[in-house]
């Protein structure tokens, strides 16, 4: 890996960015990305010649832009981490395409992989697990710098680079932390070391997979502020995966909602959290704990019972239909395409058929047109207003 | 079911490989059996006698290794293990049948006893950590570090020779004929005491330590704490929750040790002149007795595999997490 090459790539991206104000802001883009994890074959499968797999991610499209935070929320097991890992190229794709700076990314290991990770870095879900307990902070950061050729020449420069990294994540004074082992750090400090390591590559995209799920509210806040700061100062494109919808509201510009391997809703964070469109998002928001609800707690209606669907044999049609209070007949058979709503919000739900403009890739997130246009036009108008009332 | 099939397939492959190795090993050893026989009898064999012996042993033809290998399998599948050279012309299967029961009885039973005893003590000392039982650990460690033959010989010197409490050798009194009658069985039992006790002594420590460690580990699992919180009786918590889970790793260890029953008894048989298969194997090795060696190896290999398969099944029966298919 040579610096020149990566600089070239970078320069190319910048040049592209200069070409147009909106379209080329997109740094990383996923188009119709699908990931199926094959299951181990059982004796029965051999007999029936069936090949079963976990449909962890199906046909997901999203765009990450410079200087914005995109939140990805959804229930446990809906495939959020898998999306992040796919974007970080830790898993091979089943189908679909990932574009970095407009260029399709070709599969491959070694050098091309390293060139890729130099621009796209993943912060792992768990700050307690993603640092090797036997290595010091110095080792972790030095490696990150060295691999990407940013360690400079000589001890001095390296030291300066390290200090700089730690300062950036506000672990100061740096020398206090450099020679510590992960177990000697608090969760928040570890998380910041993990972020510093990701920054070590000087990436353009940061994929942060539930970076705060394990942390205390007070420490959580520090990490989120840091991410926001990075976005603002370094113009990073950040994918922020979380369970905590309230934090998505506060920190993300855009929010995408995933359910059972598919993105079901997207749009401006404030809009999505305040006026959720998709019944699943509504359920999610309604379930999220909210101290302001204290008074109303008693007369909450029972919503969305039932188990999350099996990803091995996902339900046909809309994957949410078995739990959806507003499910219609066609939800059981036809996969809803994406319907655009006001304010750049969109939802993949038959309720909104005919409500907004059908979009084919010029939306905020999601580029690939969904299938079954033919049937889409024949759907009954959905009582969209009712859905909004539910979410107050 | 799937699990079972998978295990069986795995063991079949392992068995094939191990049997093939068993076939190769003796053939790669230096020397030839007739030569070994000669030195055994300090004999004055005539050239012609040597040649005809070679012919009898099937060593005269220049067969390719591959040819020998296919023949070996053909015979094996017929259940024919060939004729022993050392005990020519006794069939290997007969040599094995006459010695295997002794090994299985003595070492099998003692292995079982040491497992049960060791596990039992381990459960207790792990549960009652900090009690006087902890004092037992250094002692058992020390005993388990003693070479077995040394322990056995000291035991003979003291209990058989000095105090004449037990016989020093043999599996039963020479005056008796093996039969399922009281005099014979009691004599066999009496002869088994000293070897048995020494085996248990030297083997029990490993089980105690393994089990104790597992008990300590499991005792701090949440579900044990939950069981305590539920106010269950101490016995129920100790056995139903802690020991039940802690014993699982020991089961695979036990399977492995079951396999070593057959292979690891050499010293017992040497020290106590106990009839059994280990000594036969040593003799076979010494005499280049390919058929016998292969036969004994086959038995050992198959028994280890069978024990492992059994352990896998027991494990699956005890640990529902293994029974994946629902």
């Amino acid at each position: 890996m040579t610096t020149d090459q990566s600089e070239n790539v970078r320069a190319g991206a910048d040049a592209a960015a200069g070409a147009g104000p909106t379209g080329t802001d997109v740094v990383l883009e996923a188009r119709g990305v699908t990931k199926h994890f094959p299951l181990r074959r059982t004796a029965r499968d051999l007999l029936t010649r069936e090949r079963r797999s976990v449909h962890a991610v199906d046909d997901v499209s999203l765009r990450l832009r410079r200087g914005t935070v995109t939140a990805l929320v959804g229930e446990s097991g809906s495939g959020k981490s898998t999306v992040a890992r796919l974007l970080a190229r830790l898993h091979p794709l089943t189908s679909g395409e990932i574009r970095l700076g407009g260029e399709p990314v070709v599969a491959g290991g070694g050098r091309s992989f390293r060139r890729y990770v130099r621009r796209v870095q993943l912060i792992f879900q768990d700050p307690f697990a993603s640092l090797n307990p036997v290595h010091t902070v110095r080792y972790h950061l030095t490696r990150a710098l060295k691999i990407h050729g940013r360690a400079g020449s000589g001890k001095e420069e390296l030291e300066r680079a390290l200090t700089d990294l730690l300062n950036r994540v506000q672990l100061t004074p740096a020398h206090q932390y450099l020679d510590k082992f992960p177990h000697e750090l608090s969760g928040g400090q570890r998380q910041r070391v993990a972020i510093a390591r990701a920054l070590g590559a000087d990436p353009q995209v940061l994929l942060a997979d539930e970076p705060v799920s394990m942390l205390d509210v007070s420490i959580r806040l520090g990490v989120l502020n840091l991410l926001r700061d990075l976005k603002e100062r370094l113009h990073l494109a950040i994918l922020y995966i979380t369970h905590d919808i309230a934090s998505a509201r506060y920190f993300a510009d855009t929010t995408l909602v995933m359910y059972a391997g598919r993105i079901v809703e997207g749009g401006d964070s404030e809009t999505v959290t305040q006026r959720p469109a998709h019944p699943y998002t509504q359920l999610l928001i309604a379930s999220a704990p909210d101290p302001d609800r204290v008074a109303a707690a008693a007369d909450q209606e029972e919503t969305g019972t039932g188990e999350p669907p099996s990803l091995i044999t996902p339900p046909p049609g809309c994957r949410f239909h078995p739990r959806c209070p507003q499910a219609m007949e066609r939800c059981r058979t036809e996969l809803p395409p994406r319907f655009d709503l006001a304010d750049g919000q969109w939802a993949a739900c038959w309720l909104y058929e005919g409500q907004g403009v059908r979009s084919y890739g010029n939306g905020d997130a999601g580029a690939k047109p969904y299938g079954n246009e033919g049937t889409a036009a024949t759907g009954t108008p959905a009582p969209g207003t009712t859905a909004r009332e539910v979410s107050r | 079911m799937k699990y079972l099939l998978q295990r069986i397939a795995f063991y079949t492959v392992t068995a094939w490989a191990a049997i093939t190795i068993n076939f190769l090993i003796p053939r790669l050893m230096p020397g030839d059996p007739v030569q070994a026989l000669l030195s055994r009898y300090q004999g004055q064999l005539d050239t012609k006698a040597i040649d005809s012996l070679k012919a009898l042993f099937g060593l005269d033809e220049e067969q390719s290794l591959w040819q020998q290998y296919t023949d070996y399998w053909a015979h094996l599948l017929d259940g024919d293990l060939g004729l022993s050279f050392t005990f020519f012309p006794t069939p290997v299967s007969e040599v094995i049948t006459q010695s295997l029961p002794w090994t299985l009885a003595l070492v099998g039973v003692t292995t079982l006893i040491s497992f049960v005893l060791g596990t039992g003590i381990g459960v207790y000392s792990g549960w009652k950590r900090g009690s006087w039982l902890d004092g037992l650990l250094p002692v058992t460690t020390f005993i388990s570090s003693i070479p077995y033959f040394w322990l056995g010989l000291i035991a003979i010197a003291l209990f058989a020779e000095k105090w004449s409490l037990f016989p020093n050798s043999g599996g039963y009194d020479s005056a008796l004929v093996p039969a399922f009658d009281w005099p014979f069985l009691s004599s066999a039992l009496y002869h088994a005491v000293l070897p048995g006790v020494t085996i248990v002594l030297s083997a029990v420590a490993g089980w105690i330590l393994g089990m104790r460690n597992m008990m300590v580990t499991v005792s701090s699992e949440d579900y044990v704490m939950v069981a305590q919180a539920k106010g269950l009786s101490e016995r129920r918590v100790m056995f139903g929750y802690a020991a039940r889970n802690a014993v699982l790793p020991n089961i695979s260890g036990f399977a492995l040790s079951l396999g070593f029953i057959v292979g690891g008894t050499l010293l017992v048989e040497m020290v106590f002149t106990y009839p059994g298969i280990g000594f036969q194997l040593l003799q076979a090795v010494g005499a280049k007795d390919y058929p016998l060696m292969q036969g004994v190896f086959l038995i050992i290999t198959l028994s280890v595999l069978a024990a492992n398969l059994l352990a896998d099944l027991v494990y699956a029966a005890l640990d529902p997490r293994i029974r994946k298919e629902a």
Partner: protein
């Protein structure tokens, strides 16, 4: 010990217990197979009887008649005629006839795997109820082997398809015992009431197999076993002292030796002077005491011929020669041969230091101790030796292939010293190094004279030629020292007089006392209860 008390052993019950440290046995009583339990434990001699009973420790004495009342060799030992005892009959009551004897010899002739001694049978015939064997060559050196062949019943063996692999589980012989029970650990024989040649007092023989010497020794010491032969490191303490009144042992020698074989094809051991010098310093007494625990008779004659068994064969010049270590003499000899001693290291004429490696199988304790003693002895000459142990197999292969410096090994033994000399020096057996020599001359000893003398001895028509050849062999053996004899090969045993008396002793050497020798039957018939 417990076993003795419970088992009802002893003269009163008519049981005699025997033991052997050979490990568990398999049920096989084929007398011609040396791998059978009958051979290993020696009970074949209780079931099958020979034509005549030779005495290994007095090989020159005429054998006792047994199944044959008489046998006559033609002058040049190419023909022998047996007259059979009319009274002899098989345990199943059938009479033992010349047809049985003829059948037996034909059996051996036909199946060389059964003919362990490799007797070159030629003609087998019955003439006038007498059995006549004819040979192409003189059988002088084999005569004892031939006449002690045991005879098997034709009516049983002729039905056997494959006698070479026949386990003969219910042996029928002419002897006084038949097989009662067999287990790998213990074989029990019981007396046949109808024995043709008188009655035996011992009603039951119990052979127990032990896994090693120490178990067998303990069994002997505790009286569990009354008759056995086990090498014991300190027999006085381990055995005799346990019951000094009854525990006896006697280890008379036959005509075979143990000794240090040199690889005479390797430098510098191809130099006879070096070998001889080493032979001169070996302390056979120390070996006798420390290595052989005084069980094996000491070799006192430099010819290696064990005395007194070989007394008649000694050449006149060696009648009074002894084997005292003579370091000064050895040094002188070496100096004359061009060896030099500098700084305590012996150098051969080419200036190379003389060193050697002794090899023997690990576990052959007496040999290893013997080697250690020899190593100590030759240090006095400035020779540095190393003792290396191998597995028995590896050693066997190395010895056969001539891949050794020097090793302690036994020789063959026979009715005359011919067997042992032939084993060591026969040029006819000579093989190049690397090619297996299975029958002898492992040291690759090359001597025309020796080979000629051996041939002359075997084929001689008269006693004088034999004596000359024997004298020549002794001279070569002493002067060229292809092997240093260290101890006689004994045919001895431990036995207890607690229950049975009548054992052979030094005073009454009617047979070698070992129970795996043909003469064991003679001993058993001779035993009487000790009151």
């Amino acid at each position: 010990n417990s076993g003795a008390g419970k088992g009802g052993v002893g003269g009163a019950t008519g049981v005699l217990t025997l033991g052997k440290p050979d490990g568990p046995q398999t049920n096989n009583s084929n007398p011609f197979l040396n791998t059978s339990a009958g051979a290993t434990l020696g009970y074949r001699y209780m079931i099958y009887e020979p034509l005549a009973m030779t005495n290994m420790i007095k090989p020159t004495d005429k054998a006792d008649p047994w199944l044959a009342t008489d046998w006559e060799w033609e002058a040049n030992f190419t023909k022998v005629t047996f007259t059979l005892d009319e009274r002899a009959k098989w345990a199943d009551g059938k009479p033992l006839t010349a047809a049985d004897v003829e059948f037996t010899f034909n059996l051996l002739k036909k199946h060389s795997a059964l003919n362990w001694n490799g007797i070159p049978f030629d003609g087998v015939a019955v003439e006038d109820g007498k059995v006549v064997l004819t040979f192409k060559e003189s059988q002088f050196v084999n005569q004892n082997k031939i006449i002690q062949t045991f005879i098997v019943p034709k009516h049983i063996w002729e039905k056997v398809k494959n006698p070479e692999t026949w386990p003969n589980r219910t042996p029928v012989g002419s002897g006084p015992y038949r097989l009662k029970t067999f287990t790998p650990q213990t074989t029990t024989l019981t007396a046949t009431p109808t024995y043709w040649n008188g009655r035996t007092k011992v009603k039951e023989l119990r052979y127990t197999a032990y896994n090693d010497n120490s178990a067998a020794t303990t069994a002997l010491a505790t009286g569990k076993v009354e008759w056995s032969f086990v090498f014991m490191p300190n027999h006085k303490q381990l055995y005799i002292d346990k019951d000094p009144k009854n525990h006896k042992l006697w280890f008379p020698s036959g005509l075979g030796v143990h000794g240090l074989w040199f690889n005479t094809a390797r430098k510098p051991f191809d130099n006879p002077a070096l070998r001889r010098a080493m032979a001169m310093v070996v302390d056979r007494r120390a070996i006798h005491i420390q290595a052989q625990a005084t069980l094996y008779p000491e070799i006192t004659s430099p010819t290696g011929i064990p005395l007194p068994a070989g007394e008649p064969f000694l050449a006149p010049e060696y009648r009074s020669a002894t084997t005292r270590p003579d370091v000064a003499g050895a040094k002188k000899l070496l100096a004359e041969a061009g060896f030099t001693l500098s700084g305590g290291v012996l150098k051969d004429p080419s200036g190379k230091p003389v060193t050697l490696t002794f090899t023997d199988p690990a576990g052959w304790n007496d040999y290893i101790t013997g080697l250690a003693i020899i190593k100590d002895n030759i240090k006095q000459l400035g020779i540095e030796a190393k003792v290396k142990t191998q597995t028995a197999e590896a050693w066997g292969v190395d010895v056969a292939n001539g891949n050794f410096d020097a090793t302690l090994r036994w020789t063959n033994s026979g009715a005359t010293p011919y067997d042992m000399y032939q084993n060591v020096m026969d040029g006819a057996l000579l093989q190049p190094i690397g090619k297996s020599s299975q029958q002898g001359n492992f040291g690759r000893f090359k001597s025309e004279e020796a080979t000629t003398a051996l041939q002359a001895y075997a084929n001689a028509k008269d006693q004088k030629t034999r004596t000359e050849a024997m004298n020549a062999l002794q001279k070569i053996f002493v002067e060229q020292a292809p092997m240093i004899p260290t101890a006689a090969a004994p045919i001895g045993a431990e036995y207890s007089t607690k229950n049975w008396i009548g054992w052979p002793t030094e005073a009454n050497p009617y047979a070698p006392p070992q129970h795996t020798q043909p003469s064991a039957l003679e001993i058993v018939l001779n035993l009487t209860p000790a009151k």
